[in-house]
Symmetry: C2
Subunit: 330 residues, 2 copies
């Protein structure tokens, strides 16, 4: 018996739901402090109590409220994103120096953004540190597929065996994390070249924005570093329909090889646990939108759809390119 689609979804969406058991949820929340920023009326993430204990949080920059279980960055309410980010960077530099957290040994030198309500850019922090604060991270995932007389087939890469995370596992055709200042459409174009050697014009012509998946991941041993750290995630999803003569090829060292797999082959690999966990969710979403999983053939149709579009309890990004949102990112 392989894994069901709901099993795969539950491997990603692991944080409990209040409505399933209010008493359990309330008790569970005592394991965390809410991460907050002075002047911003929202929880931005949940920090494990064990992390709060180990982090050195100088009293001139941080306030810990043990009763309400909050950890607040005490910058001026009118501070700039740069000022907030600088204090976070100092705190993390100290943790790296003292080798406090295994997860920071995987330092990426990439900055990930944190947003205030309304999608306003609040601060940025080193990518590998985001699970320590339990803040939302963002990425782009896309499925390249061919649909011709030979049926629907999907381009599936295998991750390099030397990759830091999930080495050798199957992946989505094009996928990657979004750094500060990047927009989903740009990120897609960049990653499609870096990971699949697909030129910008091919991507722009053949890709369709088809929504997003969201889920609340809790890191297990497979993810590396400390376990039980929180990683709520948003993945913007794109379909890229290619003609059979366009062949994605590895470009950087992250991908080993691409396979053109039938739907049945992808289903078998999913059930077999061969895909990186969050890539399973993106493929299940693809199957749901393309009539491959239906109410009549997927026993957990409704539960799957709501869990992979989870409403996260933190402010999330807006990448709107109209006047208000782009102003807020300056």
């Amino acid at each position: 018996m392989g894994k069901s689609n709901l099993d795969l979804v539950k491997e990603c969406d692991r944080f409990p739901y209040y409505a399933d058991d209010p008493a359990f949820y309330t008790a569970h929340m005592r394991n965390y402090h809410a991460f907050r920023v002075n002047g911003c009326d929202a929880n931005l993430g949940y920090i494990l109590n064990s992390v709060v204990k180990k982090l050195e949080l100088p009293a001139n920059s941080w306030a810990i409220d043990a009763d309400n279980r909050t950890v607040t960055l005490m910058t001026d309410p009118d501070a700039t994103p740069e000022q907030r980010s600088e204090l976070i960077a100092e705190t993390l530099a100290q943790a790296v120096k003292q080798d406090t957290f295994e997860i920071l040994r995987g330092w990426r030198n990439e900055k990930y953004p944190v947003y205030a309500p309304g999608g306003k850019f609040l601060l940025e922090m080193e990518r590998s540190a985001t699970p320590l604060f339990g803040v939302v991270s963002y990425g782009v995932h896309s499925t390249c597929y061919v649909n011709d007389d030979n049926g629907l087939r999907i381009w599936v890469p295998r991750r390099s065996k030397t990759k830091q995370t999930y080495p050798g596992m199957l992946d989505n055709s094009v996928a990657g994390g979004m750094s500060t200042d990047e927009h989903p459409g740009e990120c897609l174009v960049r990653e499609a070249m870096e990971e699949a050697s697909l030129p910008e014009d091919v991507v722009r012509k053949n890709s369709t924005a088809v929504g997003c998946v969201t889920y609340f991941y809790v890191r297990g041993a497979q993810a590396g570093g400390e376990t039980d750290l929180l990683q709520p995630e948003v993945e913007y999803v794109y379909d890229i329909k290619l003609s059979a003569d366009v062949v994605p090829k590895p470009c950087d060292s992250e991908v080993e090889q691409f396979y053109l797999m039938t739907v049945d082959e992808v289903k078998a690999a999913l059930a077999n646990g061969e895909f990186k966990p969050n890539c399973s969710v993106v493929l299940i979403d693809f199957f749901l939108r393309h009539g491959i999983l239906t109410p009549e053939n997927e026993p957990n149709f409704l539960d799957i759809i709501s869990r992979i579009h989870r409403r996260l309890e933190f402010p999330t990004a807006s990448h709107f390119e109209g006047t208000n949102a782009s102003d807020s990112k300056q």
Copy 2:
């Protein structure tokens, strides 16, 4: 200024979220009793306290627990769905006789199902009574569209001016509620003929199951009958791609006329509040899946997507046609 897409979503998804304000949510829940069935360990809906007060609930069939705010149908734990449905029908017949509720004046003579955890069929009740118990209701909504050299256009019907609910408003191409024993695919075929004169072979050949939308509606004055009744809903969603020579035509008396509207015309009608509320949500979902609404042009992209796939806190249906689920429906 017209309505934003998020405004339209909020008109459907109106019940509060725990995470937005735990104290408010907890206080708000004191307005309801949970509807339960003896032997089934789940809340099946929320009944307004004012409804509990007015309903005659004979003590040999019902147990009211004022402390825990539950109303429980006291059938034997091993009762059949027929036995449970019979007691509900008796209670409702009494309410109709005494004209206790305005909403029951719109008696439909259609039975709607209620499911136990795992999607098991538990009981059925008259359609117009479901908001009194706040149980989940199910329907099928589909968008018929043409996408050719003239661009993407959508078939939009106007509801008959004599229809009981939302007369004269714009609607989804094909939409309708699902009675007990009906499966989404069958319901689509039936409604497509009844509402749009589309033959079964055309529907089967051109339709794609593309997921569902779910939201937690709270009835306002526009819905008719008592206000503040709860109506959590699941709509199974289908796209039907038609060639330009296939023209939907009204068949029964529910639809007045079909228009073939451009995307911009649909957007304008949405902003103008011309669509029946839950039809807006289905069109927004269509726009999100077809690259019309993107992270860059929709400021509330993430909030919209998670709210229209809300995880309902009640057991929901499984229409799986494998062995286990269809057994449970017998």
